[in-house]
Amino acid sequence: MIDYVMVVVGGVLLFVGAICDLLGALGMNRFPNFFVRLHAATVGTIGGAFYPLIGASLIAFGSEFLGFYKWFVGGCSLVSAFLILMLAPAGSHALARAAHKSKASEVTPKVVDHLEEDGGVS
């Protein structure tokens, strides 16, 4: 029973990941400036890579036919998911900070830019 639940939840997470990837790809094409496109890219990495990896590990843990190897597959997926969760935000933060500091990208259309009002990146 618990195995079946894990496989179903894993499948749902995979589906959510696919949708996040699609939305991220649409955003990369349609959004107007660098910073919101970066937002779309992180939707693609966290939503489109972290969720499916958790889902894959749940499916692996729930699959009895894999035998002993389900711990390898599931464990690798969990560790990769944790690393992506840790590294992707740091990477996009570094990109956004560098772009704002070097003024390589204009923030247009702009509603509000608190960082600029505070005097830019130190």
């Binding site: 690393l83 840790m86 590294l87 740091a90 933060h93 570094a94 900070r97």
Partner: protein, 271 residues
């Protein structure tokens, strides 16, 4: 519009073909279903104590082939790689690393630095485990070295070049450690001959297990764990050599361009 359509269609076709091959590969015919005779020879001899003349005592066929069956080939491949690094060192020979901090060297923000600090111990552990498991699972010395070389590169990007100088990771240290790795490889190559000369039996260069007419053999087991004779030594020394070989390149390439021009430019050069 037409071009985008072609791009989308070819991407879709690629994904479908790869998915088909990876899920139903056996249905594609002899290329994917048969094991070739040469492969059968290696698969049946890499870990078979009943064939002491042919075995490498390692369950990982690739490492057994690379460091045992065709070991000399790998040795000279390694030599080519290090000649390239020696070339880079020769080009930069006059450039001093002792640079003055001109308000630089602060690195990236606190967030990135913290994440990097968490990442680096994991990276080192992974690299060492790849090297120590090189004779059991896919991987080996070069792959482990490439994984380990990520550490100095990340340090240069995140903490800046000057941070590495502060913690005394310089080109000289990297060169020395790389040389220790290479000397270790050479030592392992000639170790069978030295031992055989002392004990009065025959042996070959780079010999691992017993061969015809040469009864010398590295121990295949250490206690209960399989160490595959010389393979674990080669993997460890290659890890050391490759790590610091790549580190030298990263250290040299990250020196400021204006500084290099200042020090290398001869008379009349404009900079």
């Amino acid at each position: 519009m037409k071009r985008e359509l072609i791009t989308a269609l070819s991407l879709t076709a690629t994904v479908l073909v790869v998915a088909y091959i990876s899920t139903l590969g056996g249905g594609l015919g002899p290329l994917f279903s048969d094991t070739r005779p040469l492969a059968k020879v290696f698969l049946s001899t890499t870990l078979d104590p009943n064939k002491p003349m042919f075995t490498a005592m390692s369950p990982e066929g690739v490492t057994a082939i690379v460091w045992d069956y065709r070991g000399l080939d790998t040795l000279f491949e390694t030599a080519v790689f290090y000649l390239a690094i020696i070339g880079a060192v020769a080009v930069y020979r006059d450039v001093s690393e002792k640079v003055v901090l001109k308000g630089g060297g602060v690195g990236l923000s606190k967030i990135v630095k913290l994440v990097t600090k968490l990442l680096i111990p994991m990276n080192i552990a992974i690299a060492i485990s790849i090297a120590l498991h090189g004779h059991l699972t896919p991987g080996g010395g070069f792959q482990a070295g490439a994984a380990m070389a990520v550490v100095p590169m990340i340090l240069i990007v995140v903490f800046s070049r000057y941070f590495l100088l502060e913690v005394k990771i310089s080109k000289g240290l990297a060169l020395a450690l790389r040389s220790i790795g290479l000397i270790g490889i050479a030592f392992t190559v000639f170790l069978p001959i030295i031992i055989a000369l002392i004990s009065g039996v025959n042996s070959y260069i780079m010999q691992n297990q017993v061969k015809f007419g040469a009864p010398f053999s590295f121990p295949a087991f250490f206690g209960d764990s399989l160490i595959s004779g010389s393979l674990i030594l080669y993997n460890l020394f290659e890890l050391l050599a490759v790590t610091f070989g790549f580190s030298i390149l990263f250290l040299l390439l990250s020196i400021e361009e204006s500084l290099v021009k200042e020090q290398m430019g001869g008379e009349g050069s404009e900079h």
